[in-house]
C-alpha cells in the first residue's frame, strides 16, 4: 500500500497538514491534519510498503507493542481510506 501521488505534507505553525495538488486536488479538497504518529506513517507510505513493515517501524520508533501499534495504524488507515488517499 501507499499514499497516492500529488499530496504534500508540511508544517503550518506547530501543526502538520496534508494538502492535495494538481489532479489529486480534484478529489480531495481542503486539508487534513496529522498528529506526529500520522506524519511518521505518512512518510513510510510515500513508497509502496506493507502493513507489516509499517507496524514494525512503529514498534521500533515508539517502543510500543504490536497491539498498540496496530490499533493506532488501523484508525489512521481508516482515516486515509475515508478521504480516498490510500492506494492498496
Amino acid at each position: 500500500m501507499k499514499v497516492k501521488e500529488g499530496f504534500m505534507m508540511r508544517k503550518v505553525g506547530d501543526q502538520i497538514v496534508v494538502v492535495a495538488m494538481g489532479q489529486a486536488a480534484k478529489q480531495f479538497h481542503g486539508m487534513m491534519n496529522l498528529n506526529e504518529t500520522g506524519a511518521f506513517v505518512w512518510e513510510l507510505l510515500k513508497q509502496e510498503t506493507s502493513e507489516e513493515n509499517v507496524l514494525e517501524a512503529m514498534m521500533e520508533n515508539y517502543g510500543i507493542d504490536r497491539e498498540r501499534a496496530k490499533k493506532g495504524l488501523d484508525s489512521f488507515l481508516d482515516k486515509l481510506r475515508t478521504v480516498g488517499v490510500l492506494e492498496e
Partner: protein, 243 residues
C-alpha cells in the same frame, strides 16, 4: 481591456462585459506595457459559474467573480493571496476578521466603524488581498467588496487576525495553532498547481507563526468591538484572555 493597480500589482483585465470595468473604476491605472497579472474569463467559465450559483446571477456578475478567481490564482507568485474575511483599518493597522458565513463578520466590523468613527474604516469587507512585503503582511483593498460594497483602495499592515464566534458574553483569547489551522484553510483558495503549493503553504506557515490570531466570542454590542480592539491593538504578544 483595462488595467488596475491592486495590492501593488498591475492587473490587466480582459473583459467581455462592462460591469467589471465599472466595478474597478477607482482602481484603474495608466496602461503599461507590462502587467504583473493578466486576468480573463472564458465564456465557458462564465456560464459554468452561472449554473453553479444558487441564485441566478447575471453573466456580467459571473464574469466579475471568475476574473477575481483568476487573479487570486496568480497571486501566489507575488507572495499574496485572497482571504475570505473582513479587513478593517484602525490607527494605521489592519484587523482581519474571519468566520463561517452567517456568523456576523459584517455585523461585528460595522460596530468597529460605529464605535471608532474617526479612527476605523473598511479596507475590504469581504475578500481582501493579503500580501507579504518585506517582513510584514499587509491587507489590501480590492474592487471586489462583496454584496455590501464596504472597502477602499487603501492598505495597512496586519496587526491581528480575529476568528469570530457568536456568544452570550464577550470574550477574547489567543488562538492556538490547532484551532487556527482547522479554520484558516476554509477561508483561502488553495492553488491547483503543485509548483505553487510550496510557496502558498510557506505563506500560511509564516502567517500562523508571525501574526497573532484571536478567537472572539461576541454578542452584538459596542462592548464587543471595544473589547476586541483593546486586546488586539496592544503591543507585545503575551498569552492572555479577557472577559
Amino acid at each position: 481591456m483595462f488595467q488596475i493597480l491592486m495590492a501593488g500589482l498591475v492587473v490587466e483585465i480582459r473583459n467581455r462585459y462592462s460591469y467589471v470595468e465599472k466595478q474597478c473604476k477607482d482602481w484603474v491605472c495608466l496602461q503599461t506595457e507590462h502587467a504583473d497579472i493578466v486576468a480573463e474569463a472564458s465564456e465557458e467559465e462564465i456560464l459554468r459559474e452561472q449554473t453553479r450559483a444558487r441564485f441566478a446571477p447575471s453573466l456580467e456578475l459571473c464574469e466579475s467573480i471568475c476574473i477575481y478567481r483568476a487573479i487570486a490564482r496568480e497571486l501566489t507568485a507575488f507572495s499574496a493571496f485572497v482571504m475570505h474575511g473582513a479587513a478593517v483599518e484602525l490607527d494605521g493597522q489592519a484587523y482581519v476578521f474571519i468566520a463561517k458565513s452567517g456568523v456576523g463578520k459584517t455585523t461585528h466590523t460595522k460596530l468597529w466603524i460605529k464605535c471608532f468613527p474617526d479612527r476605523a474604516a473598511y479596507i475590504n469587507g469581504d475578500k481582501p488581498v493579503m500580501r507579504w512585503q518585506g517582513d510584514r503582511l499587509f491587507a489590501y483593498g480590492t474592487p471586489w467588496m462583496g454584496k455590501e460594497g464596504y472597502g477602499c483602495s487603501g492598505f495597512a499592515p496586519v496587526k491581528a487576525i480575529c476568528m469570530l464566534e457568536r456568544g452570550e458574553e464577550n470574550q477574547i483569547e489567543r488562538a492556538d495553532d490547532a484551532v487556527i489551522v482547522s479554520r484558516l484553510f476554509h477561508q483561502v483558495l488553495l492553488p491547483e498547481e503543485a509548483s505553487e503549493m510550496e510557496l502558498f503553504m510557506e505563506m500560511m506557515d509564516r502567517m500562523v507563526r508571525e501574526i497573532p490570531f484571536y478567537v472572539l466570542k461576541c454578542n452584538i454590542s459596542d462592548e464587543a468591538a471595544q473589547l476586541a480592539c483593546r486586546v488586539m491593538s496592544r503591543d507585545g504578544v503575551g498569552e492572555y484572555a479577557e472577559v
